[in-house]
């Protein structure tokens, strides 16, 4: 089940293009070669997962405020899904709401980051992810 050697894909679920671009720029700046797949909202993300557009192993970086299906709804849906309930998910959001935070951790997220505290162009988050998947074993 565990495959350490494979390259980890970052599945970014984010409606804001600038924020998505920030991540891309951070990848480029840090010379990270891992594939980056993006969905614009929860519904699209679920569809892409089920269509097999995202190759395992992957990490999900999830925004909370999104149209159609927001981050919390996506979390509830994926934890209910037999195929993908074991996904490792980080939340990257502007919401400082404790309720949002508690609801997210209730759905077994691996970490909750605030966009404004994630450093210039999310460099901090990207560095963390880069370190994480270098040493962590992920479900596949």
């Amino acid at each position: 089940m565990i495959k350490k050697e494979s390259v980890v894909t970052l599945f970014l679920i984010e409606d804001d293009d600038v924020d998505a671009m920030s991540i891309e720029r951070a990848f480029a700046k840090g010379r990270i070669a891992n594939p980056l797949v993006r969905a614009h909202d929860g519904l699209q993300a679920l569809q892409m997962l089920r269509d097999g557009e995202v190759k395992k192993p992957f990490l999900i970086l999830l925004d909370l405020q999104m149209p159609r299906m927001n981050g919390l709804e996506f979390l509830a849906a994926i934890r209910d899904d037999n195929m993908f309930r074991d996904s490792v998910i980080f939340v990257l959001t502007t919401s400082k709401s404790e309720q949002d935070m508690a609801a997210a951790y209730d759905n077994q997220i691996a970490g909750y980051f605030l966009k404004e505290e994630s450093g210039e162009s999310f460099l901090g988050v990207v560095e963390l992810l880069n370190g994480y998947w270098k040493i962590a074993y992920l479900p596949c």
Binding site: D16, V18, E120, S121
Partner: protein, 583 residues
């Protein structure tokens, strides 16, 4: 109107509870009970009074009859005392001595009846005719003996009776014989006196006298020794007038002897006759050989004198009180219902207002959220894009554009802090905190470090602890110290924090030696989004003081500015000890 009426009534009676009705019912029962008992008592008292009066009447009659009897017996005694045959003059003298008119009112006269056997008749008549030539015995009859009335006084009113033979008529004769045979006083059954022109009922009263002083023991001896009778005729009406004179007529009555009516007051003609008497008594009285049947009834006068208004007053008074009680209950219950209705209305209104308030608070929350996320997100994007332009263009960007880019970033920064302050302002009082002891020196030190006090400035506070909520106190102190630094016009200065504790709370002042705020601007300084200097000169959202005031007032305190606008500003905040949250 007609259809509404019953509904109103139902609502009214619906406002009364069972215990109201219970009290009214109990009170009504009490009233009726009191009325019943007092009326029973009054009736008993009246019955006693009536019985007493009735017995009194009967006793009066008896007593009067005894008196007459005495008079008759004194007549027999007088006859015995006389030496020879009785003469009319002697009898006249005797009757005068009795003074009938005054001592025996009601008596019609007093007379002597002689028993005359047939063989003695001529001698008797001869003796009488010696001084009364016309004397004769009348009327004729079949019986072979004579019982004539020899003397009667006063003779003027009794002239028709002179010579009247008792044997001619059964009532007179049988009573006379009975008197002879028993040796006792007797009265006759009702008769009409010959001397009574009105032909009203009357009777005769007999007392027998015999040969010798003693009344013979046996019947035989009595009949042999019998000499005659002393008698008195009575007209019943006169007798009763005499008996009952000066009596209050509380009672009307009638007397029957057998079937014959002797005396009757029980008719509409009688004084104070009551056709529906309150009381009635029937009594048979044995009087000298006759049974007199008394029928006594209470009169109108009795009704008048004995009618006791007390039970009626109790009943009426009680009913009035009961009615008033009921009305009072109605009024109270209605008033109570109105009050409850009003309270319901007010409560309803309050609930609605509260809901509206909650809605508006929720909307404010939503607004804060929008401010923090929806407004900040594009702002962040702008900031990033500007940075990327700067990054990616490098030296390709014209020199003139570079300060524009940096101005752009500055404005973005200002807007971000405005949004942060706005969010914080709207969130004042939304969180609950615990009271704790806070050391002002430590707190001030922490704030100074966080704000990064420029060199040359001193920020000092006394080493005193106060009981307060940490977060609000920290917010206020941080804003005030920040303001003092931000608005200072010199390169160096002192910010002095002082505190004064008293029983009701503590006063915390932030004093600086800056330029001060002119008095006419104090009010403006406390308004939202108001800055006293251009934002490019002193960076600020204009919300600091307004938020401090809002926070302090939320905890029941106050904030005032003291400054002459020339040297230094004192911002004085008062925090009540309880620091009760005021919603």
């Amino acid at each position: 109107m007609n259809t509404k009426q019953p509904q109103t009534r139902r609502t009214l009676s619906g406002t009364l509870h069972w215990y109201h009705w219970l009290v009214v019912a109990a009170s009504l029962m009490l009233t009726l009970g009191a009325w019943y008992i007092t009326s029973q008592q009054a009736r008993q008292k009246m019955a006693l009074q009536f019985n007493f009066q009735a017995e009194h009447i009967i006793e009066l009659v008896r007593e009067r009859m005894r008196k007459y009897e005495d008079a008759l017996w004194s007549g027999t005694a007088a006859l015995h005392a006389l030496p020879g045959e009785l003469t009319n003059a002697q009898w006249q003298a005797f009757s005068k001595a009795l003074s009938l008119e005054t001592k025996y009112p009601g008596i019609n006269g007093i007379g002597v009846i002689h028993y005359v056997p047939p063989d003695q008749l001529p001698g008797y008549l001869a003796a009488q005719r010696m001084y009364r030539p016309g004397y004769k015995i009348h009327p004729p009859h079949q019986i072979k003996e004579y019982w004539p009335i020899t003397h009667i006084e006063p003779v003027e009113t009794n002239r028709k009776a002179v010579g009247l033979d008792m044997a001619h008529e059964n009532n007179r004769f049988s009573a006379a014989k009975k008197a002879r045979d028993t040796g006792t006083a007797q009265i006759t059954a009702p008769i009409v006196l010959v001397q009574d022109a009105k032909k009203t009922p009357g009777f005769l009263f007999y007392a027998p006298y015999y040969q010798g002083l003693e009344i013979p023991k046996t019947l035989d001896l009595k009949q042999k020794a019998f000499k005659g009778i002393v008698y008195a005729p009575f007209i019943m009406a006169r007798l009763m007038d005499g008996t009952l004179q000066n009596e209050n007529r509380l009672i009307n009555f009638s007397i029957h002897d057998g079937k014959d009516l002797l005396y009757n007051e029980l008719s509409q003609d009688s004084v104070d006759f009551d056709p529906d008497p309150l009381f009635r008594m029937i009594e048979d009285i044995d009087l000298y050989g006759r049974i007199w049947h008394f029928d006594l009834r209470s009169s109108l006068l009795f009704r008048q004198q004995n009618s006791n208004p007390q039970p009626l007053m109790i009943l009426v008074g009680g009913l009035v009180i009961d009615t008033m009680l009921l009305v009072l209950f109605f009024v109270l219950a209605t008033a109570n219902k109105r009050a409850v209705d009003y309270a319901d209305t007010v409560t309803h209104t309050l609930v609605e207002r509260n809901q509206a308030l909650e809605r508006s608070n929720a909307e404010l929350d939503q607004f804060a959220y929008v401010a923090s996320h929806d407004l900040k997100a594009p702002l962040n994007a702008i900031s990033k894009l500007a940075a990327w332009i700067e990054e990616d263009s490098g030296d390709a960007l014209p020199q003139v554009c570079k300060p524009h880019l940096s101005l752009l970033k500055g404005r973005v920064q200002r807007m971000a802090s405005l949004l942060d302050d706005l969010l914080m302002f709207s969130r004042v009082g939304r969180d609950n905190y615990e009271l704790e002891a806070i050391n002002l020196k430590t707190l001030t030190g922490d704030i100074a470090q966080l704000l990064g006090i420029p060199s040359g400035f001193i920020c000092q506070a006394p080493d005193i602890s106060v009981q307060a909520y940490r977060v609000p106190l920290d917010q206020v102190l941080r804003n005030l110290i920040g303001n003092a630094l931000k608005h200072h016009d010199q390169a160096s200065g002192t910010i002095d924090i002082s505190v004064a504790l008293n029983e009701t709370g503590f006063t915390l002042s932030v004093n600086d030696d800056g330029p001060g705020i002119p008095a006419h601007l104090h009010e403006k300084a406390l308004e939202m989004f108001q800055t006293l200097k251009p934002r490019d000169e002193v960076e600020g959202s204009g919300m600091g003081l307004a938020m401090c005031k809002k926070i302090v007032e939320h905890y029941g305190g106050s904030l005032i500015i003291e400054s002459d606008g020339e040297q230094g500003t004192h911002i004085i905040t008062y925090w009540p000890l309880a620091q009760q949250e005021v919603k």
